[in-house]
Amino acid sequence: MSQSDTQRACSSSSRVNPDAWQAVCSQEDLVRNSGVVVWLDGAQVALFYLPAAEGKTLYAVDNHDPQSGANVIGRGLIGSIKGDLVVASPLYKQHFRLEDGSCLEYPQQRLRVWPVRLNAGQVEVAVA
């Protein structure tokens, strides 16, 4: 998962090349206020859906937990800490910001993030 170093967080989908969007699942597959995981050409992408949130309601981050080496981030609990939306890894409970994948406790750890959007009942992820 070495890409995570070079991948810049992209918070607005408008800057994405229109050809890069790829449908990964339907909106029905999402679980409110929680995560599910999709398979995307060898990558595992965790999708978190917060329909009641004020700004963005959908986030896509890497399912791979750098600390445990297990693919479990999609099963973490989401919350807010000091204004940031975060997911807590289910194994060692460290927190990652959904916005840019950075880790609150260990700056060396960072999750890859993808631009993601809802489009006509489909969830689409932008692949660079």
Binding site: W39, S68, N71, L77, G79, V86, A88
Partner: protein, 853 residues
């Protein structure tokens, strides 16, 4: 460090005789002060067990074992340079050769500390021997009493002093009819005056203990109804099966007499203000020492002497020993008794105030000096809440209020209790460890904001424990005075404790997290601290299935997927096996499932079977098969009832007295699925042999001839704690009623993730308070707690069976929502005939992460 010694470069030998409470404290202090740099330390102990807490000796009968009474880790006596000789009494001291003589040889000393304590005095009475001549001082004494009690119905204690009453209580707790025979015309003649003694007698008789005053036992002969007959003057007699003597103690000064050290008028080794005997190389401390003609039968003065001697031997400035305050407060047979200073008003010119309440048999007396300005002493029976204030008035010479009597009058009128703020800096808060208010303040100024930390830093409250209430008050008062608010908020979203949130949820009938957050919290989302905590509160209040859509996002990941996540992201599955009882068919069914999904299987400590290595998408299929075979979820993933362990009991075991398996099944069926602040473990043993280890559980039940004994708040694991005996000889329905109340009270009042053991230790008022609430219904909550439990029981549903019926809930059990494949990064290897997760080092595909903290 002593430069003389250092230059001589020669280690001296220091011997401590006696490893009781005071001898031990001296050793601790010596080590702490660096004595091992110039002394080799030898400690000789007559008893076979290293120093234990004699003050709490009686707890040996209420569930504590010898090890948990020990005053230190065994490792203290393994410190290099320290040798503890257990079970090796010193037979003689040769002061000329400076040697101590034991059956194993001689050891030469440079300095010697006598800490041989006291021994119980048994008056020479014809016929007193064996079980009619028991005493109450050591663990071995208690073993002898326990053995004698096995076939006994009645027990008598000779001596109505402090220890005698404690011994009577012990006999009562062993199930005997207890009597106290006192030579003097009142109980506790040393501490109490006549009226105080009368009030205490009335209270104790109400508890069913016989009190016989002004009786001198003249001889003991064979009895008719009972084993022995105690013959008093005037042809009066009392029959009994065993007799415990508690007629006072005598200083253990045999060694000192033998080597001709000076002995005090009432026994004991004469010491000066530096605790030195008449031999400049021999010190004496604790109960074996006589200072200014007085002996001191309490730990606090003994500890004072120990500290003084340790300091002197390390060439530090030592505080001289100049006598000690013998004030005491106790709960004897559940009755508060306190005695402060000059309780008898013997000081010339002393005057007293008295308060008597015959309806509740309480009595208080305040003794003031001739000027009426200062407290000289006090006697309290029935209510010790006045003790701390009165003691502080006396110890610190604080001027009395205009109306001194208000200090002992019932507090409805708002008596001027002495707030911690009114105490001078020099006020002693803990006399055992000589901790003043000033030293508590400096600990706080040094950054200490936690009571537990304060105790370990200053040692306050780690002796007799009598200062607990005052310590807490002073600590909190000082924290608040420094503007430190003791922050108990759950997290940044809720400025409430778990207990407060629990009350809000119940009182306002809140059933969702969002509602609670909107009404009482901040923000829209919550976090991984408050969500599971609130989820657990909602579940224990209303017991909705945890997979309900509004609850799912609240659960800890294990709760969400109703399985325990393991280190590689796979799950373990634990079906419920109530009471550990299982049929062959069910065993086969588990085997079939394990084999089909290639799961690693292991028997757990809770008498069930754990199946490891299931992937997320396999969980519904595995559970469908287990449920079809008659299993239910085991809730191994939740903070909830885990298991009820049991032994086979009277059905098969020749010792069993009740059907422990049936009881275990009843309990497990009742409490399965109960959500609580932390996991709950139970066990039921079929007799006192305790094969199910019930005394290490949150709720332990042990069968007796007459019913069940209930133990609560035990714990295994990292911080083991023995469960405490809570109630005895209960019938089935009372047992369940008590457990209902106990558990619901815990759920209501515990902090998040607080096990029952920790909760119990933090309960103000301790076990007695818990008994009051549960057994005597002191809060009037009994019915409510029971009906709340009944609601939870009625709503029980196997969560997995519920989830399998609902396609919406099953949506989550997909490794990938857009692909059928399993997680390609999960790998196993074979080991001992089963598979286990591969380790990172064995697999180049999984990068080894270096930054792991």
């Amino acid at each position: 460090m002593n430069s003389n010694v250092a230059t001589l470069n020669k280690m001296q030998t220091l011997i401590v005789i006696g490893n009781g409470m005071v001898g031990h404290h001296c050793v601790e202090q010596l080590i702490e002060r660096g004595a091992l740099e110039h002394y080799r330390l030898h400690v000789f102990s007559e008893e076979p067990m290293r120093a234990y807490d004699r003050v709490h000796l009686s707890e040996y009968f209420s569930g504590r074992d010898a090890e948990s009474l020990a005053l230190s880790d065994a490792s203290l006596y393994q410190t290099p340079g320290v040798t503890l000789h257990l079970g090796v009494p010193v037979l003689e001291i040769d002061r000329v050769r400076r040697q101590v003589v034991t059956s194993q040889g001689c050891v030469t000393y440079d300095k010697l500390v006598l800490a041989t304590g006291s021994y119980p005095f048994v008056p020479p009475i014809e016929g007193a021997e064996g079980e009619s001549r028991l005493v109450y001082r050591t663990l071995e004494d208690l073993d002898a009493i326990r053995a004698a009690a096995v076939n006994a119905r009645r027990g008598v204690v000779v001596g109505g002093g402090l220890l005698g009453l404690e011994a009577a209580n012990a006999l009562k707790s062993l199930g005997l009819e207890a009597h106290v025979v006192e030579f003097a015309p009142r109980l506790m003649p040393v501490q109490l005056d006549d009226l105080g003694g009368q009030a205490l007698k009335a209270q104790i008789e109400r508890l069913g203990v016989g009190v016989h005053l002004s009786r001198a036992t003249q001889s003991i002969s064979a009895g008719e109804q009972y084993r022995y007959r105690m013959n008093f003057a005037n042809d009066e007699f009392l029959e009994t099966d065993l007799i415990v003597f508690s007629a006072g103690i005598r200083a253990q000064d045999a060694l000192a007499r033998l080597c001709a050290l000076e002995i005090g008028p009432r026994g004991g080794v004469v010491i000066d203000d530096t605790c030195l005997s008449c031999d400049p190389n021999i010190y004496a401390i604790g109960e074996c020492a006589s200072w200014n003609g007085s002996l001191f039968g309490l730990v606090a003065p003994g500890y004072q002497m120990a500290r003084s001697v340790a300091a002197r031997l390390c060439n530090e400035v030592a505080e001289p020993f100049t006598g000690a305050d013998m004030s005491t407060k106790l709960k004897l047979l559940g009755v508060d008794v306190g005695s402060i200073g000059d309780a008898h008003g013997n000081t010339p010119g002393a005057r007293s105030y008295q308060f008597i309440d015959e309806t509740s048999a309480s009595y208080r007396r305040l003794v003031v000096d001739a000027s009426g300005k200062h407290v000289l002493g006090a006697v309290l029976v029935g209510d010790n809440s006045y003790y701390d204030t009165l003691l502080q008035y006396m110890q610190n010479g604080i001027a009395l209020p205009a109306e001194p009597a208000s200090l002992i009058l019932p507090s409805t009128e708002g008596a001027p209790s002495l707030g911690p703020g009114a105490l001078p800096e020099s006020a002693t808060v803990c006399s055992c460890h000589n901790v003043t208010k000033g030293s508590i303040c400096s600990a706080i100024d040094g950054g200490c904001t936690d009571l537990g930390q304060l105790k370990s830093q200053t040692k306050a409250c780690t002796g007799c424990g009598g200062c607990a209430g005052l310590l807490k008050q002073v600590f909190e008062h000082e924290l608040i005075a420094r503007g430190v608010s003791v922050d108990k908020s759950l997290c940044e979203h809720f400025a409430y404790t778990r207990q407060e949130l629990y009350a809000l949820v119940r009182v306002e009938g809140i059933i969702t997290f969002d509602e609670l957050l909107a009404k009482h919290g901040r923000g829209h989302t919550g976090c991984d601290v408050c969500k599971p905590a609130v989820g657990s509160i909602l579940a224990s209040c209303w017991n909705q299935p945890i997979m309900d859509t509004s609850l799912v996002p609240l659960q800890d990941t294990n709760d969400t997927f109703m399985a325990n996540m393991q280190k590689n992201g796979t799950y373990s599955v634990v079906p419920r096996i109530p009471g550990g009882e299982i049929t062959a068919d069910k065993l086969i069914a588990i085997g079939v499932v394990a084999k089909k999904y290639d799961l690693y299987t292991k028997i757990t400590g809770g008498q069930r079977i754990d199946l490891f290595g299931a992937q997320l998408h396999q969980l519904p299929d595995i559970w469908a098969e287990l449920i079809a075979a008659g299993f239910e979820t085991g809730h191994a993933y939740g903070k909830s009832t885990r298991t009820v362990k049991s032994c086979v009991g009277s059905t098969w075991c020749r010792y069993g007295v009740q059907d422990s398996v049936q009881m275990a099944l009843t309990l497990e069926d009742r409490y399965k699925g109960l959500r609580s602040p932390h996991k709950l473990k139970f066990a039921v043993s079929g007799c006192t042999r305790e094969c199910a280890e019930a005394q290490s559980k949150d709720v332990g039940v042990i069968a007796t001839e007459k019913g069940w004994n209930l133990y609560v708040c035990g714990n295994g694991g990292m911080r083991p704690r023995h469960a405490e005996l809570f109630a005895t000889d209960l019938d089935d329905s009372t047992l369940i009623r008590y457990i209902d109340r106990f558990l619901m009270f815990y759920i209501r009042t515990a902090d998040k993730l607080q096990r029952t053991s920790v909760w119990r230790e933090s309960l103000e008022g301790g076990l007695d308070y818990l008994k009051d609430v549960v057994i005597h219904d002191s809060l009037g909550l009994g019915f409510e707690l029971e009906s709340q439990m009944q609601l939870v029981v009625n709503r029980y549903e196997c969560e997995w069976a519920n989830a399998l019926k609902d396609p919406e809930k099953l949506k989550r059990f997909r490794t990938f929502v857009n692909d059928q494949r399993p997680d390609p990064d999960i790998h196993f290897v074979q080991e001992r005939g089963q598979r286990r997760p591969i380790m990172a080092a064995e697999l180049h595909l999984i990068p080894v992460i270096e930054e792991i903290a």
